[in-house]
Subunit: 328 residues, 4 copies
Amino acid sequence: MPVPDPVLYPPFNTIRLSHVELSVADIGASRRFYCDILGLQVTGESDDRVYFRGMEERGHHCLVLKGSPGPSADLIAFKTYDEEDLDRAERYFRDLGHRVDWPDRPFQGRTLATTDNHGVPIEFYHRMDRLPPIHQHYHLYRGVRPLRIDHFNMFSPNVDQSVAFYSNIGFRVTEYTEDEETGALWAAWIHRKGSVHDLAFTNGIGPRMHHIAFWVPTPMCIIDLLDLLASTGNIACIERGPGRHGISNALFLYVLDPDGHRIEFYCSDYQTVDPDHEPIRWDLKDPQRQTLWGAPAPRSWFEDGSAFTGIDARAPDLVAEPIIAHDR
Amino acid sequence: MPVPDPVLYPPFNTIRLSHVELSVADIGASRRFYCDILGLQVTGESDDRVYFRGMEERGHHCLVLKGSPGPSADLIAFKTYDEEDLDRAERYFRDLGHRVDWPDRPFQGRTLATTDNHGVPIEFYHRMDRLPPIHQHYHLYRGVRPLRIDHFNMFSPNVDQSVAFYSNIGFRVTEYTEDEETGALWAAWIHRKGSVHDLAFTNGIGPRMHHIAFWVPTPMCIIDLLDLLASTGNIACIERGPGRHGISNALFLYVLDPDGHRIEFYCSDYQTVDPDHEPIRWDLKDPQRQTLWGAPAPRSWFEDGSAFTGIDARAPDLVAEPIIAHDR
Amino acid sequence: MPVPDPVLYPPFNTIRLSHVELSVADIGASRRFYCDILGLQVTGESDDRVYFRGMEERGHHCLVLKGSPGPSADLIAFKTYDEEDLDRAERYFRDLGHRVDWPDRPFQGRTLATTDNHGVPIEFYHRMDRLPPIHQHYHLYRGVRPLRIDHFNMFSPNVDQSVAFYSNIGFRVTEYTEDEETGALWAAWIHRKGSVHDLAFTNGIGPRMHHIAFWVPTPMCIIDLLDLLASTGNIACIERGPGRHGISNALFLYVLDPDGHRIEFYCSDYQTVDPDHEPIRWDLKDPQRQTLWGAPAPRSWFEDGSAFTGIDARAPDLVAEPIIAHDR
Amino acid sequence: MPVPDPVLYPPFNTIRLSHVELSVADIGASRRFYCDILGLQVTGESDDRVYFRGMEERGHHCLVLKGSPGPSADLIAFKTYDEEDLDRAERYFRDLGHRVDWPDRPFQGRTLATTDNHGVPIEFYHRMDRLPPIHQHYHLYRGVRPLRIDHFNMFSPNVDQSVAFYSNIGFRVTEYTEDEETGALWAAWIHRKGSVHDLAFTNGIGPRMHHIAFWVPTPMCIIDLLDLLASTGNIACIERGPGRHGISNALFLYVLDPDGHRIEFYCSDYQTVDPDHEPIRWDLKDPQRQTLWGAPAPRSWFEDGSAFTGIDARAPDLVAEPIIAHDR
């Protein structure tokens, strides 16, 4: 009997990315940055954590900040289709030999904690507290008007292996960059929720978090945020953009939070719900994959990322340098 | 053994709405309207049909125009997750006692034709010819820059029955308008693809097609189309808008094609992939459900629609008048 | 010796419209409306007056609200090129037989008060207190982001006479609507500052203020204001729009303040500094002059206006009804 | 008797900048670039010249391209208030000892040719052929939707001297960059038409043309142009942006035409008609004056410019390097 393709018929059903927890050195400063400047809504606070959501989100949180001695990424989390998917996932990861655990997570139902192939702490849950919508409460909209979390992007020491791991649990590739000579993956964008990605991997010292992205309604919101950052003494946090990615077609801006965690604001990608949606291949040498308009990313964008708490990053297996010039 | 909820565990897996076929009296005039003014791409032509797609679509067509003595809507079609879903669907509809047929459809694989509870011709397929992307070929973008088909909206003589039929095959309600006294549904928005809707039903003489909607990138595209319609002698086709719907949060514009088929341009709705996404209830008396900004729709918008070929529309079971004033 | 054309070589040099004073019944409610909702900056307050400016304005005020038993328009004011222009203006109006007066106006230098041909109280000054710029202080931008006052629009009982009066002091016509049969002016747009208008006149019971307009940066600001009005319980104040005027090409929105004074938000008109700029003639029967996209204005827009304090409005000399249908 | 301030009471009345003539090596390639990509309208062609205007312009041309062996800037031109201003200007420049000439210029009336203090060929005229408006003919809008010419920017070997020359004929400073230690002007923006500038000067090897700017309606037009350049193989011509200037507040994009002439697309500056409009001083060390959002300009932007035909550029008197880092 043929084995079903795990991309199309995965062992358990993950609906979408859900949230990330970041350790930050000064939780007050970070709260001000994410709430007062960027415009996320604070939905909960405890002794050491602050919880945030975007303007259209009903789930309790898409971002958790944790006061800590120093910055790191603590975990990324996903929502499953139903409760039974959590049990299926537990069996799946146990069979794979990964650690599995059921930590208590405030504002969430049963939560399964495990790791991906490179040791990244990943969690799955089905139920989270649901909050009343604030989606059309336009008097509450501020900053960049962040509507929802869109994706995580991570440095991977072996993108082929990362893609294989997540493909086996149902993630589908929408776009990828390939090293022409070796056929090795340089980067890949993979999704569950029907947009360009829930997750992306880029070749580099890893595993590390490269950035977390929030969906914003229009390119004008990104221009508004730039103006706001400029008039509040925050231009040093602007790392890259505005620009349009060739990959994903998204209008983007990258900023660095007070701890250097990279945040992207992102709009204008496309629908990918078709199971036969053909991935788009990009050549590593094509500068338009990164910026459709040609402007190179700064060197920091290729090098800096957030370590995962307690996980040692290692050099990538693929050592070729990106061909993109970093400056003109 | 408990029966699984068909909304969450449907008998076959429909991915999304796919396309519509409209009969038009003057296929040349309609081709010019959809291609030269609105900006859809012509992907195929035969003796009596023209096929179109949006700028980000890979499938061969989302709109088929058929030259005919007079205007009508011929069929609406959906894409399934895999080929086996077509066989599951055939069994399902046969068991239900609906006619089933496997017509030849150019540019598509096996196609199952049947009807919904009110006799609307609906079709399902899994495979359609895939075309090379033109998504970032910005020199080809024109008119309103239509990216993809977004939804169908139909007059239903009994919205409760329409919603029950489509819920049984997995469609989920995201928003609805309820008659407070009777609890009867006045209108409902239901989806498979993770946005506010693939399909909507409004109480009225039906079944009839109310409108077909295309997704556009930003509100500015809608302003651009209005300006283009104004400078090409086409203002008579502007029926309603621009405005923002309370329901769906979408920025909208409604135009009438040369045969009076109603077309919506639509952007800015929200993500609904969570299986526990809570439907939003609107009061029939709340004018903001129709237009968040308060402007009433014209009377034609409540009354006019496209008949389905060979299907007699009937008066709705719910006879209460909408409370909204049509003019100030 | 030929008399110089007063349009090109006026008796004194008016630079631009400057400000308006409106009487309002509840100054606290009006302050909240103009400041918290619309986003104007409060620059001064006294026992009975509140002063406002737009975000790019350096002058102390463009709008003065005065607490009064009931609503009316108190005066409109203009800035001259230099101090001597005030003396030239005094001589001009005295020779014309109009009352002239030099009232004390807080935050302004010498101010000449007189009346136009229909008795409208008009004032001229050269010096006004100048405030530090807040133009790029984007963290202060709110509401519709009003940048500056753009124009006044008035009902005139005889538009030909109004245009003659203001042409004699250097205002130039940019666009006008003419009754084809009689050649009488139905409406006219006249300017000093190099945009489509500082002043406009429409045939009607007058003199009355029809509306005051503020310039906003982009059409998206108008959409943002609509959303904000919608989510703060203010949709009843939305009278007309959004739309694009044929005349002026401006994207517009009209709202009514708590006293029914009509305020326009306006962007996208054009440069008119050429002394030989040709006025554009519109036919009274052309619906696109009012709304390029064809939607008619509501009846209130043709009928309602703000009386000038102590001035009796009279029926217009031109009695023909506008041909535009008010509703569909 | 006191001498009147020439800034406020100039010897002749210049209304605005009007047009530029550029020599280009391949007039066919340049015609395609300006017309098919950027969207200017071709209004005239002769053996060796092509004439263009923007979408809201009534004058015959704002840009003249001349086929030549190699690239250079031939002349910049200004429109006067009336015919007599040309005679006043002739006397003024003759008294100043500058060459004066009355060349025949197609599509223009009497045209006075002279030079500025650094030898730049400048021309003045009052009458130019006026063309029917295409302003609201939206079906003709393409590319970046250029509405009108906005300003010229030039490298000057001595900005203080350039500003003095143009101030003497009525140009007013709106913003300037000053060297804190010496008080010397590093750059200045000067206007006649009531916006931030008709002309700007930057310290550098000069006189050379730095760039020519066209006004576009909204920031979205600039994003659209970037997308169009990206999809037509033209990203190499994108030199800087999109960004917002601190100086002028304008949203900008700089591109290089096929000969390397620099073109800016520009929107969102502000009104400066007040004769007492206070110039804004910027510190040479403030990176936000160039880009409000902090991103530095590339080195080419500081160094490259178009020579004026037959004029030798010389090193600037002010030799301090700009403090801005060119890359991160």
